[in-house]
Amino acid sequence: MKRIAILLLMLFVILGTKALGQEITVTGTVTDAEDGETLPGVSVVIQGTTIGTTTNAEGYYELHNVPEDAVLEFSFIGMIKEEVPVEGRSAIDVELVPELVALEEVIVVAYGTTQRESFTGVADQISSDRIERREVSDVSRALEGQAPGIQVTSGGGQPGSGLDIRLRGFGSMSASNEPLFVVDGAPYDGELSDLNPNDIESISVLRDAAAAALYGARGANGVVMITTKTGADRPPEVSFSARMGTIDRALPEYPRLSTDEWMLAKFESVRNSNIANGDVEAANQVTPDRLYSDLGRYNPYNMEYEDLFIIDDQNPWLVEFNPNAELQYDEDFSDYLLRTAMRQEYDFNVSGGTEISDYYVSLGYLNEEGMAITSGYDRISARVNLNTQPVDWFETGLNLSGSASHYNHLLAQGTYITNPFFFQRGMGPIYPVFLKDEDGNDILDEDGNKIYDWGISEGPQGERPIWGNYNLAASLEMDDRSYDQESVSARTFMQFNIMEGLNFRTTLSADYYSRYQTVFQNPDYGDAGPVGGRGTKAHTRNLSVTFNQILNYNRTFADLHNFEFLAGHEAYMMNQNYASAQRIGFPVPGITEIGIATVMDGSTSYAHEYTIESYFSRLSYDYDNRYYLSGSYRSDGSSRFHEDVRWGNFYSIGASWRVTQEDFMQGIDWLDNLRVKFSYGEQGNDQLPTYYAWQSFYDLGFSNHDRAGGLYESHANKNLVWESSQNLNTGLDFRVFDMVTVEADYFIRRSSDLLMGVPLPYSTGVPEIDMNVGAMENTGIELRTVIDILQQTDLRWSFDFNLTHLQNEITDMPEDLEGTIVGTHRWETGRSYYEYYLRQVSHIDEETGQTMFFYDDEDGNKETTPDGDRADRYFVDATPIPDLFGAFTNNLAYGNWDLSFMFTYGIGGKSYDNVYSSLMHEGNLGYHMHKDLADRWRSPGDETDIPKTEFGNPHLFYGSDMYLRDMTYIALRNLTLGYTLPQNISEQIGINNLRLFVAGENLGIWNENEGMDPQHNFSGVTDHTYVPVRNITFGVNLQF
């Protein structure tokens, strides 16, 4: 049979040659215009025919029987197609120019790779050059803006931290909304920051059902697949990069009152709280004294309190600050707590291979200081990726990586007093860092050094009314909040090629990390001062193993019918242990080991175990590369559910049609690759906060003195099943005029059987029970366009733009949960999960300066009241979900120069700015105040939207829509300018490639509310977290 075919083919070829005539043989070499390297595998085709060849390993081609007037098309993945008229020449060398933004042709999907054009799902692949361009320590940060549908938080500026990612909105209420991360084919349980971004070859973001379904059980929130670099059959390639840069704050501080303005506001605050029977003048009289004592007898001015305030002759309400008052000291804690920090990173790798084996070996070192003192991160990472195929029927390989990191951490979140951002922001401006005498001069110790002011009457002042016994400028150095983390991640596989098109592959993957944490609070001041210091040592170890076996079958029938079939089994196991011990009473400073401390103050340990077993299959079929169909089915059992109901079945179907492959489209040459696609599928989510939701327990951690004690903690729900997510996607992509590529998708993502803690009446003694209730829907439009504006060899410019519009709605809610208020939000059918539900401010009363809130009276009429407790809450028609978000990137290359810059943006959405609210509050007299308070109500008749200040009257600044602020923003997220040394020069110094670059991250974030982080988190509620940082880096890449 084979022989007959060969004979026929030869006959055909012979006949064919005879028929043409007037033909010549063309030879030549194809090289990369950028680095001059020869390009193997370039397709060379005579235009309008299917006759062609590809270049060999040296980039050489030879094409026979070419008509003298023919045009040759040279095309290669990632390169701009070149069309060259033969014009009778027999030698044609061609330089191909790389595309600036290459849409990858081969993309990594679940359990394999696929051709972009044959893929029925929605996936974006982000290549290594786009990752390497980013000066980030955690790879999650490199994902922002790279594709539509990816919504991220800012992640703050804590060194080594990543950001949170949501794909296509919010699917769950109580269960996790995090996408599944898969590294080299196995779900990854380690920390993303343990991966060196420079080792990453590509990241695929799988967004729809057809793409993510094969991770059925855990793919409900989308899948992010990370593939690391491998070697190839080529001579060794050595590369080295070094980067060094600075880090400082990307957002300015919230604007606050000047010291003079602040003092005046405080005067009014205390005065207003002192007014009895409307007698303002009497209140004015006693206020300076009271203020002096209430502010802890701190006075930075060159005069007494009673001289600081000048009462208006006409209107006793109006007080002016004495213009002659001068500050005798003016110290700002931020000068001592924040800094410009350094970041440096060095990476080295070698890769290469032979026909049989390939290798990639890397080593990386990163050191990143934080902009807050004592914070920092460093990481040493290494990787070896090996693959070998010693015989044609057997392949095996190992990807092994390890890292050791140290996080110098601090509590830079929330209202912990040890959070330097909170501390420097909230500390009233009159409070100095160092002890001052009555004249405002530094008090010095015996050695002539300044002495820190702890606010506990160590100088002439009294107690600081805010954060007595704390001074972070000193104590952060005395404390220790850090951890060491070591991780090892291994992926190993064996593949048996049983026969043509059929193979069996088994993969064993393991991720291990160990985190050893130290928290030490110094024995002298602050939190642990009273107990003589507190030290905690905690250890977490986490091992997860995935083991799978997959049978793969690939076959093409009659050159038209392409089949691919896959079936597999997978087992996943996670095992986590935690142990911690805490002691108090450290007799000598400087030692943080707890053995030295005297009193046991707490110790605990526990273990978590979590397993999943899965069976899965996928069938893909296409007819003539025109019509594509795919389907997958997966069955997962999770240990989180009772054995009778633990198995969930998930599936997907996908179809696409490459319209431009049709005969009737052949005449249209301005349109390429028009494709329509559709997918639908169902995935699952079992990521409850607890691992044992179906069981009922006594928690045994409640001993009573020396007697073991336990408390009934949770009800069992043996009917708990997988939360499911139904995803529909329909999309279109095409390229026009060989210049504009467009991909557009519309999706509906519906989650149902949501895993939620359903509140029980508190009077039953157990606050909630986990149940499957409710449904939520996300619908959205995603668009990505890439425009190759200029494609000349010397000047190239492309513009990459994406946007996402997303709508989130609760579509079903059981009666018990309807109307549940969660912080500033309220769950209600027909509204967004994140819809704000707040008190509403009507106006500021002109006569009294009080905030007037709306409430509904008994007849349902909207009335106003100054009593914040009486105020009703309302939906204020706002959510933190932007109307549109996305990014646009310009990539330019001119000669040896390259420039790229990416903006990300969000339009619409409201943030509930808690930080702003804290600066508008008067909970603590010593707290700093927001600049907006300069416009406060000061005397009867004032028309303003900021109420008066009055200490002890919380109603004025009760949580309300007053703190809703627009999130619309645009940020210059990244800019990179590079220069590649011309090859003839670099080769003289023995270097294949040398590129110098300067890059910046977060160079500007523009939002109308100064200081606010518009991407703080998905719920829109800000807090005092580590401010996002700006990074400016110089670097060099060398390749040998």
Partner: protein
């Protein structure tokens, strides 16, 4: 080729067959046990019972993820501080870091969505449910004698009664205003659905029944106490006396108090006890007057949330950082100079300006034994309360004033060597007894309840030491709506049997 295929098949087969064991998907936690397992054994039942006692000083920071009780989360003892601060006898020197100022200012208990209100409600119902689990599962224990089972059940019943006592006094109108007023929901067994508000009468009947049954079971089992934190027959009688006062059933109060005085074996402190280190009296469970006390180790202490952390101002914590808990100056000044109890507070004559601990009238009564260590005992019931309950019961009830004065004298002679038996009668005598009760039980969780059950106005004055800006509520007439803690909104939302119309006005 053939050999290779055989090998391959074998390898594949072994992978697939060996993949998962049958119980691969069965996982269980290592630090938890199911109720079934726990109540299999007597030791297990004790674990549940001791968990209940841990609740007296548990750090119950949150009842759900969004509502943190923070440093109010001090278990039962946090409630004790609430009830003291809501009276007029514990002025706060300043707002400090803001903890407990909502209770002191009479705001926290009137915001239906407030986390203190909700957290406290949940605390007592969680407490009740823990006991219901014991009461309903105890029969399942196989390796115990009847008297062992009775011993545990009696304790759980006593504790359940305590839970309802608190809820009734807080969330319902006082008993004397009528048995038919709305009370709080009653649960006598674990359940997942809510119950409606029972009447005040039904709730108090439940308390009385539980205590009566507990007393019977304690008598029947006649087992020794295993730890000072455990309830005993004396504790049950003592609570019955407390409860009888709340119900204005004075004869009953006297009977129960008398039982404890006669049978507990405890004895009153002596004047000598006060002479040295008076602040060490109430943090030692072995002291003669202690009927019932918890022992809190530093490790089990709620730390910053600890009851003592809010009270002991020698410690650089809340009580020192501006929120010192003072005694009502009028009470202090009302004590005779020879009264040993004066040592429990800082004499204004000896106050040291700017020393946070030695400011005038500052607490020295409820203190930690050692600075730098949270280990301490805390009193839950003392014999002096029984003497005072007896005296009050006699004075308010049908007893003779002479007997009442004698009962007061029996107590006062242990406090003031120069005290002479009172010749007050009627209202004056009651006033005198209450005066000493306020001093003796200062900080131990009585004053708001005493005002409420006896129908007296809250009257706070600047002279007593209250600053209007912090105390907020300086006067509240008896019988007003503000005396009732609201029902948490979360309860109304989740409980089908309680609607917003059932909310306290």
């Amino acid at each position: 080729m053939k050999i290779k295929n055989i090998i391959l098949s074998f390898v594949m087969l072994s992978f697939i067959l060996g993949s998962c064991e049958k119980d691969f998907l069965e996982t269980a936690p290592t630090d938890r046990l199911s109720s079934d397992v726990l109540f299999d054994s007597y030791d297990g039942a004790w674990i549940a019972m001791d968990g209940v006692y841990r609740m007296f000083y548990i750090y119950d920071n949150s009842y759900d993820d969004d509502n943190m009780l923070g440093h109010h989360g001090t278990g039962y003892l946090g409630n004790v501080l609430d009830i003291t601060l809501m009276g007029e006898d514990m002025p706060m020197a300043g707002r400090g870091f803001g903890w407990y100022d909502g209770q002191y200012g009479w705001r926290a208990h009137r915001v239906a969505t407030g986390n203190v209100l909700t957290g406290r409600w949940y605390f007592f119902y969680n407490f009740i449910n823990q006991n219901n689990n014991i009461i309903n599962n105890i029969a399942q224990v196989e390796d115990a004698t009847q008297s062992e089972l009775d011993h545990i059940k009696a304790q759980a019943l006593t504790m359940r009664a305590l839970g309802y006592y608190w809820l009734a006094l807080k969330h319902a109108k006082p008993y004397h205003e009528g048995r038919d007023n709305p009370g709080v929901p009653i649960y006598t067994e674990p359940q997942q659905t809510g119950n409606p508000r029972a009447t005040v009468g039904e709730v108090y009947d439940r308390i009385v029944d539980d205590l009566d049954e507990a007393i019977d079971l304690f008598e029947a089992s006649n087992m020794p106490r295993e730890h000072e934190s455990h309830a005993t027959i004396d504790v049950a009688h003592g609570l019955a006396a407390r409860n009888a006062l709340a119900m204005n059933e004075y004869e009953t109060a006297v009977e129960h108090a008398q039982y404890v005085i006669d049978n507990s074996g405890a004895s009153l402190f002596t004047i000598d006890d006060f002479a040295e280190e008076p602040h060490m009296l109430l943090n030692d469970r072995s002291e003669s007057e202690m009927l019932w006390a918890v022992h809190i180790t530093s490790e089990q202490s709620p730390g910053f949330a600890a009851y003592h952390d809010h009270l002991d101002s020698r410690f650089m914590t809340y009580a020192q950082l501006g929120a010192q808990k003072l005694i009502n100056a009028e009470l202090y000044e009302g004590m005779a100079d020879t009264d040993a109890r004066k040592n429990w507070w800082v004499d204004p004559e000896e106050a040291v300006e700017d020393h946070p601990h030695f400011i005038a009238y500052n607490n020295q009564k409820l203190m930690l034994p050692n600075i730098g260590d949270y280990t301490t005992d805390a009193p839950l019931m003392r014999l002096s309360e029984m003497y005072l309950a007896k005296a009050e019961g006699l004075a308010r009830g049908t007893g003779s004033d002479d007997d009442a004065a004698q009962a007061l004298y029996d107590y006062m002679s242990s406090r003031d060597p120069d005290y002479e038996i009172s010749d007050n009668t009627g209202h004056d005598l009651i006033e005198e007894i209450m005066f000493h009760r306020r001093i003796e039980l200062w900080g131990e969780g009585f004053r708001f309840f005493d005002l409420k059950r006896s129908g007296e106005d809250l009257v706070r004055t600047v002279d007593q030491g209250h600053q209007p800006g912090i105390a907020d509520r300086m006067h509240e007439p008896a019988g007003s709506d503000s005396w009732q803690w609201l029902i948490p909104q979360d309860e109304i939302d989740a409980n089908d049997q309680i609607s917003s119309g059932d909310q306290n006005p």
